[in-house]
């Protein structure tokens, strides 16, 4: 199993957000996690990436058989976990190329692999740029600073393509994207699909799943996975809304 989450419970500022969550993700699988706002989708994504301020109070998270709990974000990244942010952070003054190179080399170093020199790196990043149809001009700018919404998301996928994670978690990557950008981003993700790479798509809408076909769809509500199925479940959700599933929100 690539990722195995059992009975996970987690708090943010003393409030329990994840309330006994189970999820199994096998190698090469694409899982979509859907759910209403406030259901804990993004919290789950951030817990997996190791963000400060989320306290795991119970349960376990095994990644390739080893526990993630207590590991620093950079250690998780080096082991192959990648989070594509819903709101990629702007880093004024930090050059994008420099950032990408430092990130790749930090991971290579942590894994005991040789670091890439500037020439080898530039060659590599040019290949990856083409994959996400991103302008090379964006490499010369500070990370995400002044990027449009679409450019920021492409920059996330570029990082994913460069860092070649084992498990990619895409947090609402579709939000704020027009159809063209959505298609490019999806193409980038699809190009990275492989038998030994898994993907978790966190999304509110079914739209993204037209472009990236998931193997499994889960509905997260009230801090638990309340229903799992194949991509047909996503269609059903689109037709009926979330209300009929949550058991707490009978409004629909």
């Amino acid at each position: 199993m690539m990722l195995s989450i059992k009975n996970l419970k987690a708090q943010v500022e003393g409030k329990e957000i994840i309330k006994g969550l189970d999820l199994q993700v096998g190698p090469g699988e694409v899982h979509a996690i859907m759910g209403p706002n406030g259901s804990g989708k993004s919290t789950l994504a951030h817990i997996l990436a190791g963000r400060d301020g989320y306290d795991v109070t119970d349960g376990e998270i095994l990644f390739e058989g080893r526990s993630l709990i207590g590991l620093a974000p950079e250690e998780r990244a080096s082991r192959g976990i990648f989070l594509a942010f819903q709101y990629p952070v702007e880093l004024p003054g930090v050059n994008n190329t420099h950032f990408l190179k430092e990130a790749l080399n930090a991971q290579r170093k942590a894994r005991g692999e040789p670091e890439l020199d500037s020439v080898a790196f530039l060659k590599l990043i040019r290949e990856k740029l083409a994959m996400v149809s991103m302008s090379p001009e964006l490499l010369k700018r500070p990370v995400n600073a002044g990027f449009s919404g679409g450019e920021k998301k492409r920059n996330e996928i570029l990082q994913m393509a460069l860092l070649e994670p084992r498990l990619a978690i895409l947090d609402e990557t579709d939000s704020g994207l027009d159809i063209d950008a959505l298609k490019t981003v999806s193409d980038g993700v699809n190009a990275l699909r492989s038998p030994d790479r898994s993907v978790i798509l966190v999304t509110h809408y079914q739209r993204l799943l037209d472009y990236i076909q998931p193997d499994f769809v889960h509905v997260l509500a009230g801090g638990r996975i309340v229903r799992s199925g194949d991509k047909g479940l996503a269609k059903e959700l689109e037709a009926k809304g979330y209300g009929w599933l949550s058991g707490q929100d009978e409004a629909a």
Binding site: G50, P73, A77, F82, P88, L91, A103, A106, A110
Partner: protein, 449 residues
């Protein structure tokens, strides 16, 4: 108070020793005597600043009590060779370079590529030949003695670069003024005095650097006069990279003609104690001043910038963007004073001071002051003091970059926005490297999460 007489005595003593030594070694030249007299009179009437004076309230001067600064009149500095200052050279050294060692021109280290007609380079002590009349007349034309150290500089000015561009002359490539200070047995004090004059429509780029060779203790007390004619343009890039045991005081006084453009980037990175006073006076309509600065205060470092921007005529624009990075017990003082006179309608001024605190034990005193007497102006100011943004840190770490390196990159990025305003790529690179190496040797922050 007894401490007053004691402290006043310190500066008087520096003056007395300096004059004594100067009389022996360097006979006064007539054309400088008026300036020296004015300086001497100033020192006699001004006390050492103390906390009661607003402009010195947060500037500790205790170091004056702990060292007896000896005058440096001349030394065996000719022995210094280019290979000795290799590490201080820019990767792409300007073709015109005036090097001063412990305050005195070192001809052997200078580079004097043939410059365009209408460019005059000279030096105060005559090392580059007799000083032309137009430079003699301009010396001390705009300098104010706002504190005793400025007066002390006028009284004891040792040597310095005198640069004159005739009307309409555009200088190709920068002129570098490079100060190298070598620690002596006794801590010395020198008083560099520079003058930059651009006549109407002239354009130039000047790089001014203060470096320590080794980690000696010394006191640099510089005064720089800049006079820009109408429609002239000066890119002025200053870098303070003094030894970690040095005191550095620079008093920069700038007079702007109509429609002139003055762009200053100040990177104050070194020294144990550093103070930069910058006075910019708008003397003609339509002029622009863009002032950017970075102050680094690592553990036990003190770094102070005082701005005094005087909008005295209408239709002028000024931008003041200063940043501080503090660590350990470092202290930054920023005093940004902008005065808009009654007649200075349509003034456009934006002042900002942002500070990045890497440790809770650091201290910043920031005081933006807009003093506005005109009624049709656009002026604003903003200051912030903050720690590294946890969202930014997490973003970097989630990409595999270890926490310490992530902090480093963010500090570097914070400073880079200032360095990017430097025209010289070589200087930008040096500023970045210096900052990185100084941040790396910083004491690690306590209470890391």
């Amino acid at each position: 108070m007894s401490s007053d007489t004691q402290t006043r005595h310190d500066v008087q003593e520096i003056l007395r020793l300096g004059q004594q030594r100067m009389a022996r070694v360097m006979p006064d030249t007539d054309w400088q005597s008026a300036t020296r007299k004015r300086g001497t009179a100033g020192v006699a009437t001004m006390a050492r600043p103390d906390r009661k004076q607003e402009a010195w309230r947060y500037t500790p001067l205790g170091f004056l009590d702990q060292a007896e600064f000896q005058p440096i009149v001349e030394g065996p500095f000719d022995a210094l060779q280019l290979s000795d200052i290799d590490d201080l050279m820019l990767t792409d050294p300007p073709r015109i370079r005036l090097v001063f060692v412990n305050g005195y021109l070192a001809s052997g280290l200078c580079a004097m590529a043939k410059s365009a007609d209408g460019v005059t380079l000279s030096s105060l002590a005559g090392g580059l030949g007799e000083v032309p009349a137009m430079l003699r007349q301009q010396l001390d034309a705009i300098a104010e003695h706002n504190h005793v150290f400025a007066a002390l500089n006028s009284a004891l000015m040792s040597d310095g670069a005198l640069i004159h561009l005739a009307a309409g002359v555009h200088l190709d490539g920068p002129i570098e003024i490079l100060h190298v200070s070598v620690g002596l047995e006794q801590p010395g004090i020198c008083h560099p005095r520079h003058l930059i004059v651009l006549e109407d429509g002239a354009r130039a780029e000047v790089i001014e650097r203060y470096c320590g060779l080794g980690d000696g203790a010394y006191f640099t007390n510089a005064l720089i006069e800049v006079s820009l004619g109408s429609d002239s343009e000066l890119l002025h890039q200053r870098m303070q990279e003094e030894s970690p045991h040095a005191q550095h005081l620079s008093d920069l006084q700038v007079q702007l003609g109509a429609r002139s453009l003055y762009r200053l980037t100040l990177a104050a990175l070194g020294g144990a104690w550093s103070r930069n006073d910058v006075r910019v006076t708008f003397g003609g309509e339509g002029a622009t001043a863009e002032l950017d600065g970075l102050m680094l205060a690592r553990d036990r470092q003190f770094n102070d910038v005082h701005l005094d921007v005087r909008h005295e005529v209408p239709h002028c624009t000024s931008r003041e963007t200063f940043k501080g990075i503090l660590d350990g017990s470092g202290r930054v003082v920023f005093d940004g004073h902008i005065v808009v006179a009654r007649d200075a309608q349509k003034t456009d001024a934006v002042l900002s001071n942002r500070n990045l605190m890497l440790a809770r034990s650091a201290e910043v005193d920031t005081k933006p002051q807009l003093e506005i007497y005109a009624d049709d102006v656009k002026c604003s100011h903003g200051t912030t003091v903050g720690e590294l943004d946890p969202d930014m840190l997490f973003y970097l770490r989630s990409r595999g970059i270890p926490a310490d390196q992530a902090k480093q990159m963010l500090c570097q990025g914070f400073a880079q926005e200032v360095f990017d305003t430097m025209a010289s790529q070589a200087l930008r690179a040096r500023a970045g490297q210096l900052l990185a190496s100084r941040l790396l040797t910083s004491t690690p922050e306590q209470g890391e999460r």
